[in-house]
Amino acid sequence: MTNRLQTLGTRGALAVVLVVLALVPVVCTTFFTSQVGLTSLWLGIVAVSLTFLSGYGGMVSLAQTALFGVAGLVTARLSVESGWDPWAAALVGILAATAVGLLFGAVASGSQGIYFLIITLAFAQVAYFYFAAVPTFGAHEGINGVRPPAVLGDPVQDPARMYWFLLAVSVLVFLGLRHVSRTAFGLALQGVRDDPVRMAALGYNVRLHRILGFTLAAPVAGAAGVLSAWSNTRMSAGSISLAIAILVLTAAVIGGLNRLEGAWVGALLYTLCDTYLRGWTDRFTTWLGVVFLVIVLVSPGGVVGLVSSAATWLRRRLPGGSAPPAVPSAPAPPVPVSSGGAR
């Protein structure tokens, strides 16, 4: 019963958050909607592709911006230079990112931990230097004047519809990834994260599972690339520099790598700091660094982890509130087996 109440409570809270988020273009200024809203949404989507890989697959990838760039720049190239319909261009861009993701995954999946990180860092750099050099993709200039589909309106003058579209895509991505994490494939991915040797002994092809997990996250990063190109009406190699790759990692970490929603929270926090801290201080990056350092030190689970431990603490303090803790702690083993004997 408490469980059902809790589920209802969580769903209710989520619904409230969604309504508040949907009201942003109505209540807030155009500047806020476009500068903070759009940016945190597409940044959140590329960050969640990393949160998924890291949290469920144990793969900390720096290559997500590379896939983001492939999709964004292919879409921009096709719609600006070749005059394609924006939707068709976006589809091809995301497919291209998925194909590149499959390739990256096939190469990187043999490595783990720090080696995986370094290989994906190399991918990020290769993509950056490739796009910075190749004239087809505008080289350093990038591609300007990307037109989003007409139905989404002008992202600068009237960002409301674009904002709602990005919000809808974010919700779909969140629900989709959460669904995947509960399927056979997603659970097995978590099994591979926990113990690849055991998974191989259970009959799993560990490497193939890693490759497919990586490939599955690629269209998510790709979609973010397309949405970024549409929101900013441009994209260039600078949009996928090493600094951006690290920014995506930072957003995911400060939001909380254990929870998918952390990606958007981290992205929002970064965007808010980036937008407003600059106006208050010359030492913007120092303060940003301090904020992030404090979050990581105080809460390894990021902001989302911080919020859920605060909620648990509050529930315990409230009168009559002996609600169960967020993570159900194990009761004493009811089996007639003593827990001793461990060497």
Partner: protein, 249 residues
């Protein structure tokens, strides 16, 4: 005698100059309970890894269920009906007991890449819960494997090997680190296993091994020195020498 489920011939594994397993022959009949005993460094674990497919032999051959598997990997052998446990528990610590068993069930069944839930998933979940009950973990289904006590982790370790309904079960020191009460529980569990399952266990603990096994293979310095019934093994002078300190006769 019926065809053996496991036939090992001239199996040898060298690590540099060290012969970990030297020219071992082994035949295990369907439904047999066999224990491999021996002091530390006797080559038990190496032999076990070779049979499970986690290691490749330097020479010799392994036949499993009548087919040569010498060159096939652990994954293929698992799908043919061979299950193993690990000496130190290897559990999926971030997942619940039920999800651990569920993944073990579909690892052999298929559907490992499914992105939707189907009726087969329900069947696999049902088997996971049945197995949990049979290893005494019915009330721990929703507990994370990482939060279990050592004894419970050993129980789940065996559950993971059982849920796939293997034809042959390899148990690597299942009693390692268990208390006396837990060892008795384990012995009872092993004795209650279906006779269709062939059992091969490595054990340090003579009580567990000699109670469960019908035949015992004694290894020392990588070679088999004696094979017989538990009674014969108990009476064997060489076994006494090995375990009571007169090693290297």
């Amino acid at each position: 005698m019926t065809d053996p489920v496991l036939r090992v011939r001239g199996l040898t594994r060298r690590f540099g100059g060290v012969v970990a397993v030297g020219d071992v022959d082994l035949d295990i009949a369907p439904g047999e309970r066999r224990a491999v005993l021996g002091p530390n460094g006797a080559g038990k674990s190496t032999l076990f890894n070779l049979i499970a497919g986690a290691d490749t032999p330097t020479s010799g051959s392994i036949e499993l269920f009548g087919a040569d598997v010498t060159s096939s990997g652990a994954r293929q052998r698992t799908r043919q009906g061979l299950s193993r446990t690990f000496q130190t528990s290897r559990l999926l610590t971030g997942l619940t007991v039920e999800d651990n068993l569920y993944l073990a069930a579909i690892g052999v069944d298929g559907g490992r890449f499914r992105l939707v839930r189907t009726g087969r998933d329900r069947a696999a979940r049902e088997r996971a819960r049945r197995t949990a009950a049979s290893v005494g973990m019915a009330d721990r289904l929703k507990t994370l494997a990482g939060d279990l006590s050592h004894g419970e982790q050993r129980q789940l370790e065996i559950g993971l090997a059982l849920v796939a309904e293997p034809r042959m079960l390899l148990l690597d020191e299942p009693a390692a680190g268990l208390s006396r009460a837990e060892r008795q529980l384990l012995t009872a569990l092993l004795l209650s296993l279906d006779r269709d399952v062939t059992l091969l266990l490595i054990e340090h603990d003579m009580d567990v091994a000699l109670t469960v096994a019908e035949r015992v293979t004694m290894m020392h310095d990588g070679v088999v020195i004696v094979e017989g019934t538990p009674a014969e093994i108990r009476a064997d002078q060489r076994v006494h020498d090995l375990y009571l300190g007169k090693a290297h006769v």
